[in-house]
Amino acid sequence: MDFQLTDDQRALRTGMRELLERRFPRTRLRAVVDGDAARGDGDTARGDGDTGRGGGLDRALWRELGAAGLFALRVPESAGGVGLGLPEVVLAFEEAGRALLPGPLVATELAAGLSGSLAAGAAQGETVVTALDESGAPVEHLASADVVLALLPTAVEVIPAEEVARSAEPMRSVDPATPLHRLAPSRTRPDQTDQTDGTGPADGTGPADRTDQADRTDQAGPGRSGLAARLRREAALLTAAQQLGSASRTVELAVDHAKHRTQFGRPIGAFQAVQHLCAQMLVRAESARSVVYAAAVTEDPGDIAAAKLLADEAAVHNARDCLQVHGGMGFTWEADVHLHLKRAWVRAGQWQSGAAAEEELAAGLVSTVETCL
C-alpha cells in the first residue's frame, strides 16, 4: 500500500495546472463571466430570455484541451489515447475544478471512452458532448454541444444536441459560466437514439448505429451494474473531483485574503475566528480528498457515494466560508468566490445528490456483514 501520488501522478497534476494557467488564466475566466454580465446590463434580473445561453463554450480552448490529451486520458494508447487510469483523470479534473474551467468536461471525457459514430472526436476535443440523466438535473452547455450522452436507467444513448434542444428551454443559470437547459418533463425518452450495445468503453464493438431505433438495455441489466450504471458512477466521481479542486482552491483564496487583509491593526488571519474558519475548510477539503482519491482507485459504488457527498459538501461550505472570510469583498462580482459557490451548487445537483448518496451509503451499511476496509 502506498496511498500517495506517484511521481508520474504528481507530474500529471503539475502539468495540468500549468496547462490551465497558460490556456485558461484568470483573465479568460473573467471574460467568460463578465461577458455575460455585459449582455445582462449589469443586472441578471432583467428578463431577456437568452442569458441562459451566456458563457458560450470556447471551441478553440476545447480543442487545445483535447490536443493536450485531457479527454483521452483513459483511452488506450492503441486507440490514440494516453492510456492512463481513473486516478489520473481524477487528478486532472481536480485541477479543472480548481481553475473553474467551464464546459461539459465530464460528459466529454465519458464519451471519449465510448466508441460510436456520434461521439467520435470527443477525445480530441472536436466533438463537444454534454449529458442528461433522469434525475431532472438541468443539461449544461446544451447550446454549445454537438451531442448529448443520455444515461438512462438501463441504457446509454448518444443523441444529437439539436434534437434534445428542441424540447428543452434555457434557464437563467445561477452560474454565469455554465449555461443550463431545463428539459421538458416528457423529454427523457428521446425518439431517435444512438445507443451503445452495453459493452465496455473503446473495446471496438461500438455503440449501435443511430438508425437503430429500439431501446436496448445494458447486458448486465439495471441497478448497480451495467454500462449506464458504471458511467453514472464515473460521472459522479469526476464531478466530485472537480468539487475537490474547487474546495482546495477556496482554502487558498481564504488564506491568502486572511494574510493580507488588515483590520483592527493586524491581518485578519491573526484572529482566531478567521483562523478556525480556515482550519475547518482545510479539514473539509482533505477529508474529501482522501475519499475521492480512494474511490478513484477502488471504483466501489459506496466509495464513490462517499466521495460525491463529502466533495459536494466541501465545495459548497468552503465557498461559503471563503466568502465569509472575504467579508464585503467576497460579496462583489469581481471576486471569484461566488463563482466557486455557484459552480459548486451546479455540480452538487449533478449525478448523485446528497440524499441519494446518503441512502446508498446507508444501504451499504446493512448489505454486508462487515464493512469493507
Partner: protein, 387 residues
C-alpha cells in the same frame, strides 16, 4: 408577559389595515430594479402617501415632525405593511432610519428645519457614506479625510457599499478630521457631515454584487467642498453622533424581514406539497425546525420591542443576539428553499434564488457574525477583551 395588544394598538392596526387595503391597489407598477429614476419616483411617491395619511416618521419624536409612536405601534406598522405587500421603504431608508434620526437628535434647530421635513415628505433622498474599502468591520479606521479651509471642509477619499447613491440628494458622511495616532482612540477624530451628492468632485460608480445586480455603489470624493454648517455635532465627535441613532431603532430593525421569512417558509411548505418534496421527511422536518426558528425570531422581536418600550429605546441584550440568529436562520431558510426547488434552485430567475444570493451578505453586512459574537461576548457576557 403580555402578548395581547391594547385597544389603542388594535385600533391603530385596524385603521392602518383599512388604509393599506384602500391605497395599495392605487399604486403604480413597480419599476425595474435597474431603473434608478423610476425607483426614486416610486419610493418617494409611497413616502408621500404615508406622509399624507399621517404615517410618515411614525417612530420619530413629535418635535422633529414625527408621530411619536410607541415601539409597539412601530412594530405593528412594519408588520402590517409587510403582510399587506406594501412597498419597502427603499430610497427613504437612510433618511428615515438613520440620517434623519441623527439630525433630529443632534442637529441644530436650523439643520432640523432644513433637512427633516423633506425626508418625511419624500422630497429628498439620503444615502450613507460610512464604509470604506479598508474600513469594513473596523469602521473606525476610516481614512476619508476632511481638511478645514475657512468655512468649508475639503474632502478626499472613497466610500463603498453605498445604496441609492445614484439618486440621492444628500449623503451622511463620516470623515476623518484628526489623524489616527497611538495616543487617542481612533473613534475620536471622526466627524459627521451632510454632503450634497451634486457637489463637484463626487463620482458614483455602481458596484456589482454576486447577485449580479448593482444595488450598491462606490462613491469617490475628490476635493469635495462642504460648508462647515453641514456638520452635525462637534468636530471629531462624529462617532458618538452616529451611534445615538441606535436607540431610535428600538428593536424594530428587522420586523419586516422576519414577517417575510415566515411568509417564505409557508410558501416553501406549500410548494413542497405541490411538487412532492413534502414526502421527504428530512426536508419536511427541516422546514418544521425552521418554523421554530422563525417563531423564535418573531418572539425575540416582540421581546426586544417590549424592552425598548420600557427603557425608552436603550438597546438591550437582544439586538446582537437577534442579529446572529437571524443571519443564520435566513441563510438556512434559503438553503431549504433550494432543496424545495430542486433543479430550479439553479435558475437565477426564481425569486427565492435571487433572495438566496442576497442572503449571503447577512452574516457580513452591518458587522460580520464574527464581530457580533465579539460584541455579545465582551459587552453582554463581560468576557475579557478578545485579542
Amino acid at each position: 408577559m403580555d402578548l395581547t395588544y391594547t385597544e389603542d394598538e388594535e385600533d391603530f392596526r385596524h385603521r392602518l389595515r383599512a388604509w393599506l387595503a384602500e391605497i395599495l391597489p392605487k399604486l403604480p407598477d413597480r419599476p425595474h430594479p435597474a431603473d434608478w429614476p423610476g425607483r426614486r419616483a416610486y419610493d418617494c411617491g409611497w413616502q408621500r402617501m404615508l406622509h399624507d395619511a399621517g404615517y410618515a416618521g411614525l417612530h420619530w419624536p413629535e418635535d422633529a415632525g414625527g408621530r411619536g409612536a410607541t415601539p409597539t405601534q412601530h412594530l405593528i406598522f412594519l408588520e402590517e405593511t409587510e403582510r399587506a405587500g406594501a412597498p419597502y421603504v427603499g430610497a427613504g431608508f437612510v433618511g428615515l432610519l438613520h440620517a434623519g434620526p441623527t439630525i433630529a437628535a443632534e442637529g441644530t434647530p436650523e439643520q432640523r428645519a432644513r433637512w427633516l421635513p423633506p425626508i418625511l415628505r419624500g422630497d429628498e433622498v439620503w444615502c450613507q457614506g460610512f464604509s470604506e474599502p479598508d474600513a469594513g468591520s473596523d469602521l473606525a479606521s476610516l481614512r476619508t479625510r476632511a481638511v478645514r479651509d475657512g468655512d468649508e471642509y475639503v474632502i478626499s477619499g472613497s466610500k463603498i457599499w453605498t445604496s441609492h447613491a445614484e439618486i440621492a440628494d444628500w449623503c451622511e458622511l463620516l470623515v476623518r478630521t484628526a489623524p489616527i495616532n497611538a495616543d487617542t482612540p481612533k473613534h475620536r477624530g471622526i466627524t459627521w457631515l451632510a454632503m450634497p451628492m451634486d457637489a463637484p468632485g463626487v463620482t458614483v460608480r455602481p458596484l456589482r454584487t454576486l447577485a449580479g445586480t448593482a444595488e450598491f455603489a462606490e462613491v469617490f470624493l475628490d476635493e469635495v467642498r462642504v460648508p462647515v454648517g453641514h456638520r452635525v455635532g462637534e468636530e471629531n465627535d462624529g462617532w458618538r453622533v452616529t451611534m445615538v441613532t441606535l436607540s431610535f431603532e428600538r428593536g424594530t430593525a428587522f420586523v419586516g424581514e422576519v414577517v417575510a421569512c415566515r411568509r417564505v417558509l409557508a410558501a416553501l411548505a406549500r410548494t413542497a406539497q405541490a411538487n412532492g418534496r413534502w414526502d421527504d421527511a428530512v426536508l419536511r422536518r427541516r422546514l418544521g425546525r425552521l418554523a421554530a426558528e422563525c417563531a423564535a425570531l418573531w418572539r425575540l422581536t416582540q421581546w426586544n420591542v417590549s424592552e425598548a418600550q420600557r427603557t425608552g429605546g436603550v438597546p438591550g441584550v437582544g439586538g446582537s443576539v437577534f442579529k446572529l440568529r437571524f443571519s443564520q436562520v435566513r441563510q438556512e431558510l434559503y438553503d431549504a428553499a433550494a432543496e424545495v426547488l430542486g433543479p430550479d434552485a439553479l435558475d437565477a430567475g426564481q425569486e427565492w434564488v435571487a433572495d438566496r444570493l442576497s442572503s449571503l451578505s447577512y452574516t457580513i453586512a452591518a458587522g460580520t457574525s464574527q464581530i457580533q459574537r465579539n460584541i455579545v461576548a465582551e459587552r453582554i457576557l463581560g468576557l475579557p477583551k478578545g485579542r
